[in-house]
């Protein structure tokens, strides 16, 4: 993100406080398939909240229900305590990026945004501002159908920001972006949150959320798996593991086992040790006169934690064909 954009966005910092998305018992059936199953969560303002789940786990369906596009089978979801339907100026209160390519291919980027702006009495000058913000000002007259996926994503983000809303929903915003674009989105999301906005971002990329989000809502097969923070999510779901390398691996393994640690051979003369802090391992090796070549605490990746946690809730295990009435969301 360019510095100017950061400046512009910061104008409204501190004017937002408690914008919040709240789901209570939120459920959605498609035919006999339960796409979303009794979700309860809150998305608070001021931080980026990641909405994680495997493909088909109900993330997009949930987001559509927040926006009043899909009607819940049961339960409610509100924005600032109100149903979406009751918002007076929806685009000024909630901005959303659902599908990047959901734009008439024959319409220019500028006209697309202009049509949206008129619907909520947003002055046309704001259209040019958001085009500049996402870096599309040079191609604003070009037909959206000629845009790359990355440019479409930027246009979708521009439409979400159009009304300068306090609540923002992004469905897989980094899809199709190059590394530079991903970094740009990450920075943008964090600066939007830092201004006090509510930022709710869905992704199936756990590694991306580890870098972007503070809070996490994790779902699998439509059910809530965790409503927590990124840090807690990793810590509470992993045992601290330490990677140790030594020329005397076998003797070291015996020593560590004798002090109560669990030891697994990691290959290439390495051990993966749990139930012992790095300092304890180092001291034990020193006492036994064993040289250490490496002693590294391992942080389990969010990806790995996520895989472990949702392995029961993934819809697409190899070999299990989906039944005909399962609707992808």
């Amino acid at each position: 993100m360019n510095p100017e954009a950061a400046l512009v966005l910061s104008v409204h910092a501190a004017r937002r406080h408690s914008s919040m998305i709240e789901a209570a018992g939120l459920s959605k059936n498609y035919g006999r398939t339960r796409a979303v199953d009794g979700l309860n969560f809150e998305v608070r303002s001021g931080v980026v909240t990641g909405f994680l789940g495997p493909n088909g786990s109900g993330k997009s369906t949930t987001m559509r229900m927040v926006l009043g596009l899909d009607r819940p089978t049961a339960g409610t979801v509100t924005v600032d305590g109100r149903h979406y339907h009751d918002l007076k100026w929806p685009l000024r209160e909630v901005g959303a990026l659902l599908e990047a390519n959901a734009i008439h291919p024959g319409r220019s980027a500028r006209n697309h945004l202009l049509g949206l702006a008129h619907s909520n009495a947003i002055p046309p000058v704001r259209v040019d501002e958001v085009l500049g913000l996402v870096g599309l000002d040079a191609v604003s007259g070009r037909k959206a159908g000629k845009f790359s996926l990355g440019m479409s994503q930027r246009l979708g983000i521009a439409s979400a920001l159009l009304g300068d809303p306090g609540v923002l929903l992004f469905d897989e915003p980094v899809n199709g972006l190059d590394p530079e674009g991903i970094l740009w989105v990450r920075t943008l999301l964090q600066s939007l949150a830092a201004e006090g906005r509510t930022v709710f971002v869905s992704s199936h990329l756990m590694s991306e959320m580890a870098l972007t989000a503070t809070d996490l809502v994790v779902i699998g097969r439509g059910r809530l798996i965790a409503d927590t923070t990124v840090d807690d999510f990793i810590n509470s779901n992993t045992e601290a593991t330490v990677l140790v390398r030594s020329p005397e691996v076998d003797r070291l393994a015996g020593v560590l086992t004798s002090i109560g640690a669990s030891v697994a051979h990691g290959g290439n003369g390495s051990l993966l040790v749990t139930k012992a802090f790095p300092a304890v391992i180092g001291d034990a090796a020193h006492t036994a006169g064993i040289a250490l070549h490496e002693l590294t605490p391992q942080q389990a990746s969010l990806e790995q934690v996520f895989m472990d946690l949702t392995s029961d809730a993934v819809d697409f295990h190899g070999g299990r064909p989906r039944t005909a009435d399962e609707v992808p969301s």
């Binding site: 959901a102 202009l114 008129h118």
Partner: protein, 296 residues
């Protein structure tokens, strides 16, 4: 870019409503090229085809027998383009809805205006207004061009109050002025016919959501169902035919004072107009029901 320009007007008063939705729909409609191409086809086909047919009919006048001369309707020749235009306006009407569903932009539209009937009303009002203006202009220009063509072939206006007998016995090609009985009404109702058809297409678009399905159904209503009904025994078809949209259109644009062969076969122009309007209301209500009931 300065920070000051970012401020949006306060949102305290009012709410997004039909006025905003109309501006939004108008912006969307005018910002795709297909709209302008379709409207150009309506104008060019309307005027061009009407002039062409008037020219052909004028050339045939001298060789026509009494029965054919009785059917010689200078007003209807001038509106021949309606046959093409009715399909073009149907495609526009369906596309402004179904293209939003095919691209997924309907979700953006409904997120910007969650009260869905407002979206439908705005779409219908904008497209109806545009089609009405364009088709009325086209209808009247076609009328004057066609009468000019007939006049160029030696045609003359018949005396006021002329009957069908006068027309059959006339040695010169009859030309109609817009003040002749029924002429203004017939030309004016061309635009009304096409506008109501557009709204029917909008309603079908909301009901079906798919471009191909919506256009197929629309064309089916105008072309296929009349053919099917013609196959039925005339005792049945005769009582149904006059209620078909295409025959309502015919009833609206025929100058009945000069014609006899449609008497009893077609409804009166205003009855046809009212019935077609009721059809349009019915289809739009059906579309609204689908829009409200189904997930976007």
């Amino acid at each position: 870019m300065t920070t000051a320009t970012l401020s949006l007007p306060p949102t305290g008063a009012g709410r997004a409503g039909i006025r905003h939705a109309i501006r939004s729909e108008w912006t969307k409609l005018r910002s795709v090229r297909s709209t302008w191409i379709a409207l150009a086809v309506v104008v060019v086909a309307g005027i061009g085809l009407s002039a062409l047919v008037s020219n052909i009919e004028a050339g045939r006048w001298a060789g026509l027998g009494p029965a054919d001369r009785a059917q010689f309707d200078p007003v209807r020749f001038s509106q021949t383009g309606v046959f093409i235009s009715q399909f073009v306006v149907g495609v526009i009407g369906a596309l402004i809805v179904t293209s939003e569903y095919s691209t997924g932009s309907i979700r953006t539209t409904l997120a910007s205006m969650p009260r869905r009937t407002t979206v439908l009303a705005a779409k219908g009002m904008v497209i109806a207004a545009v089609i009405f203006v364009v088709t009325e202009l086209t209808a009247f220009i076609s009328f004057f061009v066609s009468q000019a063509v007939l006049t160029a072939h030696g045609g003359k206006a018949l005396p006021a109050g002329s009957s069908i007998v006068t027309q059959v016995r006339s040695s010169v090609i009859p030309v109609v002025t817009v003040t002749d009985s029924g002429a203004f009404r017939a030309v004016f109702l061309c635009g009304v016919y096409l506008t109501l058809l557009t709204l029917i297409a909008v309603g079908i678009g909301f009901a079906l959501r798919h471009t191909a399905g919506a256009i197929s159904l629309y064309v089916g209503l105008l072309l296929v169902i009349p053919l099917v009904i013609q196959i039925l025994p005339s005792s049945i078809s005769g009582s149904i035919e006059k209620f078909l949209p295409s025959n309502l259109g015919l009833a609206m644009v025929v100058v009945t004072t000069r014609k006899t062969d449609f008497a009893g076969v077609l409804l009166t122009p205003w009855a046809a107009t009212v019935l077609l309007a009721l059809y349009a209301v019915g289809v739009v209500v059906l579309g609204a029901w689908a829009l409200l009931r189904r997930d976007a």
